[in-house]
Structures are given as C-alpha cells and as structure tokens.
Symmetry: C2
Subunit: 220 residues, 2 copies
C-alpha cells in the first residue's frame, strides 16, 4: 500500500493535493509472473510504477527479444523511454507476481508542467537511468560469452538481493539477450556449475562463489 509522502522518495516532490490527484487517477493492477505489463508498440499514454515484484524490460527487434534493463519495487518501469511521442518501443514482462500502479501520462505530464521541482527530479532520474543502461549495454557488448553471462547472473543477484535466483529467462532467451547462441549459454552455465561457481536446477540458480564470478565478469 502506497502512503503519500513516506514510502517513495519521489512523492515528496509533490504537494499534498498534487499527489492526491495523481493517486486518485491511478489504478493498481496485479500481474502474474510472465505476464506482459507493457507491450511494445502500445501508445505511450501511461506511466507505470512497480509497487511490488520485478519486471524485465525488453526490446523486440529482428525477431529477437532482448532484455536491456530490469525494474523492481519502487521503480518507474522504463521511465527513461516512456515519454516518447507516439508508441512505446519496449515491453515489460513481470518476472514475479507484481503489483503495478498505473498513472495517466496526461496527469503525470501536467505535474511536470506545474511543479518545477518534480520536473527536475524526473529529468535527473531519467538521466541516471539512461546512464546506467548505456553503461551496462556497452560493458556487455565488449565481453566474451563467459564474461557476459557472469555479468548477467551477478545483476540478477543484485536484483533479487539474494544468492538464490530464479532465472527470468529460458537459456534461449538469455542467449538472445546477450547475443550468443543458446548452446554457448548452456555450456557456460554448465561450466560454471562444474567449477563450483553456481548450482543450477532448471531455472533455479544459487551463486556459490561471487568473487570468482565477478572476476570472470571483469576480465571476460
């Protein structure tokens, strides 16, 4: 439950009546694991905020689905790409059962118009998010298969805040995201398991040796 002015940082940028208006024009929806929260190609008419759960941000292109970011509890989902003119060019998929608050973009934009503090806060958040995504994508693209996979596993550990992770991908989806073949992903994961860095059972993974994984991510 979202209580004005206390749980989420950004709410403090809004005045009492502004926040009230925004909240009362919003809806809270439940999404099941695997469900699409945002479909690429839909009109950019909403701003989504994840109150509970996790989502992956995908870009579909050339028949491939690439995950380029994640969103967790307390994040605006893909905020840096949400204010486009026409249609959203990304999708968001719940990777756990999630509660998502849906704001109307017009109301949201009106607040940006009317509340300069809020506008600057949003602009700053967008820059930070974009920065992070660009950084991640470039790092990934310069790594070999081992390094890229290690990076992804570590980012999932941060996302879940736990060494136990449920992979939000099939091996093939993971391959598509990283730009390698599914066999490369499968083999590398097997290698990691054989070398005692992780345990694997279907989609359930546990990280056993974070330091070694980090080394592979850095060097690879």
């Amino acid at each position: 439950m979202m209580l004005p002015g206390e749980i989420y940082q950004w709410t403090s940028r809004l005045k009492e009546p502004e926040l009230k208006e925004l909240m009362s024009s919003s809806v809270l929806l439940d999404y099941n694991k695997g469900e699409a929260i945002i479909k690429q190609g839909s009109l950019a008419s909403q701003i989504l905020f994840i109150e509970d759960g996790m989502a992956k941000l995908n870009l579909e292109e050339g028949g491939r689905d690439t995950t380029f970011s994640f969103a967790v509890n307390g994040d605006f989902i893909g905020l840096m790409c949400s204010f486009v003119k026409k249609r959203l060019e990304f999708s968001a998929i719940a990777i756990t059962n999630s509660k998502v608050r849906i704001f109307d973009r017009d109301v949201f934009e009106r607040l940006i118009r009317e509340n300069g503090d809020f506008a600057v806060y949003i602009v700053t958040m967008m820059s930070e998010l974009t920065n992070g995504v660009v950084h991640t994508l470039i790092s990934l693209s310069h790594k070999n298969a081992n390094g890229a996979i290690a990076m992804l596993l570590l980012s999932l550990e941060r996302l879940f805040r736990d060494v136990k992770v449920v992979l939000p991908f099939t091996r093939e989806e993971m391959a598509a995201t990283l730009g390698y073949s599914k066999e490369s992903v499968i083999n590398t994961l097997s290698d990691f398991q054989r070398d005692g860095l992780i345990t694997l059972s279907g989609r359930h993974m546990m990280i056993l040796n974070k330091k070694a994984l980090q080394l592979i991510a850095d060097k690879g």
Copy 2:
C-alpha cells in the same frame, strides 16, 4: 548565429525573456576537430548545444573508448545523460571543427522549473534520444563483424548526409567501439572495398553500393 525563435525548434518553447536570459548567460566556443568538448568525469554543470559541426559521444570504461552516439548541428550533446547528479559519465569529441554553445545547467534547470512546456519538451526529447541509443546499441551487439561495421558506416552516411564520409575513428577505435579486434575491422573494410561496396583511402570513405551495405547490416 543563433536567432531566437526561428532556427531551432526548442527555442519556441521558451518565452522571449527566458530565451534572452538563457542566451545571454551562454557562451559560444569553437572546437577543433579531435578536441574534447566534454570530458568524462567532469562536473555535470553545463548543457551543450552544437550549432555547427559534429561530435561523437564516447564512454570510457575498462581502458576502452566506445562511441555510443553522435551529435550534429542542432543537437543538444548527450542531453539524455546530462542531468546526472554528480559527474558526467561520457565524453564528447568534435569530429569536425565545431561551434558549441554552452549553457549553464542552473539556468537551464531554472527554465525547466519555471516553464512547464519547456520541461515536457525536454523530457520528451530525452526519451526519444534514449530510445534511439538503446535501439542502436542492441542492434549492434547482435550483429557479426560485417553487419556491425556496415551499420556503423551507414550511420556515418546519415550523419554526414553524404556518401563521402571522413571516418571519425582509427581502425582501432572503430574496433573498440564495435567490440571487435582491429584486424577484423581492417579485413572487413578491405573486403567491402574489394567487393565494390565502398572506396577507402585512409580515413576517406565513399559508399558506392548503399543497398548492398544495408543488406549486410540487416542480415549480419
């Protein structure tokens, strides 16, 4: 010379006195080809606008310099990454002699605060820019060497608006950007020349067969 309200779209979002204030607190500087316009790690205290010339946006990391975007005449340089809290995490290098207008971030932010129209315009522009960068980086990372190089050459053609292009990279820098070895880049460029797709002489390139290059970029 920048004339209020007529040359650049964004100026029409500002009121006469706002634009006047912004312009009068700005400076126009000349940069020579190759010169650093923005240094990664510098304080995020300015917003830069390129009035004439071209620049490449680089991210340094792991000893490598990766170009992730370009800016030309009429662009804010790296706007989507410019409103970060502390230091800029990208650099910008002039790839032709350029005239750059330097705005003070505080003044710029004050306009975002005080002029809602302007705020929304900036937010929209940031989203569109981020969208484009993410799209480009993901496309590139899924291509083989030939495809990635073809993509880059075609994007340079669009940048220069001409089939004659002066490559803003050494072969090695191009390799760093694309995540391949310099030999792969050199060999592929040689192949392209041998196959009559381009002519090359040092950094001077001419695109002879755009369709074939596009095909390689799409398929590769």
